[in-house]
Subunit: 338 residues, 2 copies
């Protein structure tokens, strides 16, 4: 654990998303109003499920990025709020479908929608939110924003399919893993940030900088999430530690542990993750192996590398309160695990 | 069965979609090329599943409508072909998710994708096709077509959720049923037809006429499908007769039979459809009750009424080969059951 300790010492104690929350507070109130009104339907089950998810206290990092990346250019309309809401809808639809695919029981500390209303309703309400998401983007009327967000939608699904193929396959490489998290997580962070300068009519350099910030932040975010799955506590995560382990997901902490382990270790991983044969104490043993081989710590090191990339991208964007808050957000995402 | 016989006598023996197939042949070849290229992905499972569905011989009625409704106005670009392909993608995504929700084993005479690759892959590849569908629409660049098709996407999902709520509920009324089929089926037919005059820059009267034709045709099509589920043979349908019965779906033939039946009949429907307790011979008895109460025949009568509405809408559109072929298509859809 020496590496984690070293990393922790670099963490600014004040790392927080408070500045981003404060800067986007008025805009996010409008985004929340849009979300609640567009999650409505005269088919009762739809708002019921949508509100279960929407009120369950996600951090709403993605829509905040859209607002901040438009506001930093002095954007005056309300298109960024509608785009931010549509980004959150797209994300929520993904969560609904993910829980079905992963057979998850919990989501953000509450029962997953599929456990309350069933898999069928989760699939269909996800489809509805995706449809609404596109309708809202169309209302904004920017073909470029539509191109970026519809592209992200296809890429996210591609990443999920890729992850399904990698599940329960110990031959998954670090490059395979990176490809999955770039598609399933970072692509939407990137799109959410990029549509800010797009709607504010900025040049390609600004769009690329915002996109790069989002992409690198998204990679760091997912790496930390995957480290936390073997580290945090249930209350911190809003999900159970070891979910990925029980689902046979091959995340980076596993990839690194498998690569560095003995034959005996590999037999252990094979039984648990490929054979889906998990006994009491196996999760503890998995975490022990990860610590032994510095797998969690090195996952966090990689997260920090991408976090540094996100900070570098911010240098291109107009200096000011928004860029400062977005820098804090990088630190906040990473320090969850340190 | 007197009514069915009477209806059958009205059927033109030459009713066929051959004219529509001939008129759209060149365009549909391009649509098929677009479909195959856009179903590609370097994630192998995606083209594998997409091609399983795409090559499984659906009639492609929806994309043919898009082509015909643009061609009849002399439209010269290739946007109608891309929109037609995106309509088919949206439809294919819906089929993938439907099969998961309905737990279907067969689709168009082949094993359903979920039986070959699993529910998880079906959900995710459906999401991918939906994302690609939106990307393709965005490429065409018509915000009005985007508004129409993204609206249809949300409405379809709403209809599916509504159907889920109505499943296994004998209190479903004819109006409830109509609301479901308008949303889950007719809305996409309507959108597929409407985007033809939209991309060909026609006035609102033409757009409404094409939309109305599609809507009425879609209603007739679904009514006939629901009648066939208690009537055709497995080879005709590409699915098993009695699928709806086994899934507890409350379609119009059931609604009418329940309304007209005795207490004993209602106890039978309740056991089979609400109680999901189906024994050998129950499907035969269900079909017998439907015949006794003219439920299939009257479902077809309603289909003919909507078919007449579709023909009426065609009167507004420019007379010619396309309108003639679209009139034949109405007769073809209905005569499947007569």
């Amino acid at each position: 654990m020496a590496l984690v300790t070293a990393v922790s010492n670099n963490t600014k104690p004040q790392a927080s998303i408070q500045a981003l929350l404060d800067l986007t507070e008025t805009g996010m109130e409008k985004v929340n109003q849009i979300i609640l009104s567009k999650a409505g339907s005269n088919v009762d089950l739809i708002p019921e499920i949508a509100k279960h998810l929407i009120s369950s206290g996600g951090k709403r990092l993605r829509p905040m990025l859209t607002l901040a990346c438009a506001d930093m250019f002095g954007y005056q309309g309300d298109g960024h709020e509608v785009l931010a809401a549509s980004v959150e809808f797209m994300h929520t639809a993904t969560l609904l479908h993910d829980d079905v695919v992963d057979e998850s029981d919990m989501r953000r500390g509450k029962l997953a929608a599929r456990k309350v209303w069933g898999n069928q309703a989760s699939v269909l309400v996800g489809d509805y939110l995706l449809g609404q998401s596109f309708k809202m983007m169309v209302d904004v009327g920017s073909l470029e924003a539509l191109r970026i967000l519809s592209g992200a939608s296809a890429v996210i699904a591609e990443g999920e399919v890729l992850q399904l193929g990698a599940a329960q396959n110990l031959a998954t490489s670090e490059a395979d893993y990176m490809r999955v998290i770039e598609a399933k997580t970072a692509a939407l962070f990137a799109a959410a940030a990029e549509v800010g300068p797009v709607i504010a009519n900025q040049n390609d350099e600004m769009k690329l900088a915002a996109r790069t910030y989002g992409m690198e932040l998204g990679l760091a975010f997912q790496l930390v999430d995957d480290a936390l799955d073997y580290g945090g506590t249930s209350a911190d995560l809003g999900k159970d530690v070891g979910d990925d382990f029980r689902e046979g997901k091959i995340t980076l902490p596993v990839v690194l542990s498998v690569q560095r382990g003995t034959d005996e270790d590999r037999a252990f991983w094979k039984r648990c993750l490929e054979g889906n044969d998990i006994e009491d104490g196996d999760l503890d043993h998995a975490i022990e192996l990860m610590r032994k081989y510095d797998a969690i710590a090195e996952t966090v090191v990689r997260a920090r590398t991408f976090g540094a990339g996100a900070l570098k991208a911010l240098e291109k964007l107009p200096a000011g309160a928004h860029v400062d808050a977005m820098a804090d957000a990088v630190e906040f995402c990473i320090s969850r695990v340190s």
